[in-house]
């Protein structure tokens, strides 16, 4: 497994890079597996990886309708953090953070995890009070959180407009130093390679077109590459959850699919050394190692399966960017794209057995799925292997909406476009 090392790097550099093994096989689907994971994104791949690594279940297929990494795992803005308000989220996302911290070693694949911090800016006294409350809640759970003054913020990010004459003056902020970024493609490739080396079949260009049933029980799937049967079928398809679950006869879910846009600027000299969020609107940014600013804003705000957004949001995001960094006015945007967010009704995810016998469901990641990738797969693998949730994902049930035990971190209610 440990084929990437300083020694092999040097050896291959001297011998024309002819000795590298393919990162994962192009597997042909077999007619039967113990577990099928539908969705070859970050969560599906990490689920397969932890099924093999933690539970010894290696007769697994991951079915991906496109190419690996073509969905949200390659479309997100790479931020990793655990600065939530509620204890259920603290425990889950902190477990994810623990896995992130050792992920490159665990996978023998450099995911470029960089704990450069995540700073939420406050612009009103009320907002600062809310940050203090959240910061205290985090510290109570043993997670780092630090209130920052304007002077400290200016020292950390000198390009920020912290003048009192800014459109929304900055009056402070709350920092999670252990937060940061990771290279999203490497996360997908690293998990794929790790799962493949343990015997998992990763089947690309294989779209699920229906479910095979034995009464209520789900026993397999029909795909564009034939029928595949399995004892357990796990669904981890993020924004496509609605359409895939309809194939199984589940007509309604507490989920809306909406589009979120992301942007990259041309390369700049180092200007931003943390993940920064604007408090008076939806805007967040970090700077990649290549120098491009990676940033985004709010959802477009309506149901969409289009993976592309519309122009009003493009304008809004950039006006927010300039409110914080007037000096970026002449910087050009390089690329923009959209990803499908499975917005749940309380802003928290669903990792559960069911809703049909033989089926397992992982969805509702809103726009925060990337940071959850390791813990989501870890908990989902546990749930699949043992037919019951781990304590970390036990609160994230599907029936919590009907039972009145929501996990609404922001207190927004059933308005998915506001989470």
């Amino acid at each position: 497994m440990r084929e990437y090392s300083a020694y092999t790097l040097l050896k291959n550099a001297l011998t024309g890079n002819r000795d590298w093994k393919q990162a994962w096989r192009k597997a042909e689907p077999r007619p039967h597996y113990d577990v099928i994971v539908i969705g070859g994104g970050g969560h599906g791949l990490s689920t397969a990886y932890y099924l093999a690594k933690e539970h010894g279940i290696t007769n697994v297929a991951v079915l991906e309708k496109g190419y690996l990494g073509s969905g949200n795992v390659g479309r997100n803005t790479t931020a990793v953090r655990s600065n939530y308000l509620l204890p259920e989220n603290h425990r889950f996302y902190e477990h994810s953070m623990d896995l992130w911290e050792n992920l490159s070693h665990d996978l023998n694949y450099n995911v470029m995890f960089s704990q450069r911090g995540c700073l939420n800016l406050a612009h009103t006294p009320g907002q600062l009070d809310e940050y203090i409350r959240r910061g205290n809640a985090l510290r109570h759970s043993g997670i780092d959180s630090e209130l920052m003054t304007v002077k400290q913020i200016k020292r950390l990010v000198p390009a920020l407009d912290v003048s009192g004459s800014a459109r929304f003056p900055i009056i402070g902020g709350v920092m999670q130093w252990s937060a940061g970024t990771a290279r999203h493609d490497a996360v997908a490739w690293g998990y794929a390679r790790g799962a493949d080396r343990r015997g998992v079949d990763i089947v690309e260009n294989c779209e699920v077109t229906g479910f095979l049933r034995d009464g209520d029980r789900v026993t397999g799937v029909t795909t564009t590459r034939g029928e595949i049967r399995a004892g357990k079928i796990a669904v981890a398809v993020a924004g496509s959850t609605g359409s895939v679950m309809k194939l199984a006869g589940i007509e309604t879910l507490p989920i809306e699919s909406q589009v979120l846009q992301a942007f990259v600027s041309e390369s700049l000299k180092p200007i931003l050394n943390t993940v920064l969020t604007f408090g008076m609107g939806h805007f967040y940014a970090s700077q990649s190692d290549k120098g491009g600013l990676v940033y985004g804003g709010a959802l477009d705000g309506y149901n969409s399966y289009a993976q592309r957004g519309s122009l009003p949001l493009v304008e809004e995001v950039h006006s927010e960017m300039l409110a914080l960094f007037p000096s970026l006015a002449s910087v050009r945007m390089l690329r923009s794209w959209g990803g499908l967010c499975d917005m749940s009704m309380d802003g928290s995810p669903i990792i559960t057995t069911g809703p049909l016998p033989g089926m397992y469901l992982n969805c509702g990641w809103n726009y925060g799925g990337f940071k959850a990738t390791p813990a989501s797969g870890w908990c989902f693998a546990w749930t699949i292997a043992r037919d019951e949730p781990h304590a970390l994902n036990a609160p994230f049930t599907l029936d919590r909406f009907h039972r009145g035990i929501l996990i609404d971190d922001k207190g927004m209610g059933a308005t998915p476009n506001l989470h």
Partner: protein
């Protein structure tokens, strides 16, 4: 995305506020059926394709509109006043 308001004519979507799925029917006020209320509040059809939805022309005539829009192509197929649709409760 352009939405053709029946009152104001074709306008940019940024003038409108999205109010969610259109097919949901609120249970009768006197209903004590908890599961019907829960389904009304939390469950969504979330169609990939032609989708019933309610928008408000908040930056214009403020009418509530019932729109059928394709969620895959973003093409707006029909726009009518929400009060003209059949499932709107008529005052007694």
């Amino acid at each position: 995305m352009i939405i053709k308001c029946p009152w104001c004519g074709p306008r940019d979507s940024s003038e409108f506020v999205y109010q969610g799925e259109g097919g949901r029917t609120r249970p009768d006020q006197s209903s004590t059926d908890q599961s019907a209320w829960n389904a009304y509040v939390y469950d969504r059809v979330n169609t990939a394709g032609d989708h019933d939805e309610i928008w408000q022309h908040s930056g214009g005539c403020r009418s509530h509109l019932k729109i059928i829009r394709n969620t895959v192509t973003h093409k707006v197929l029909s726009v009518v006043f929400a009060c003209d649709t059949q499932d709107q409760e008529k005052p007694a």
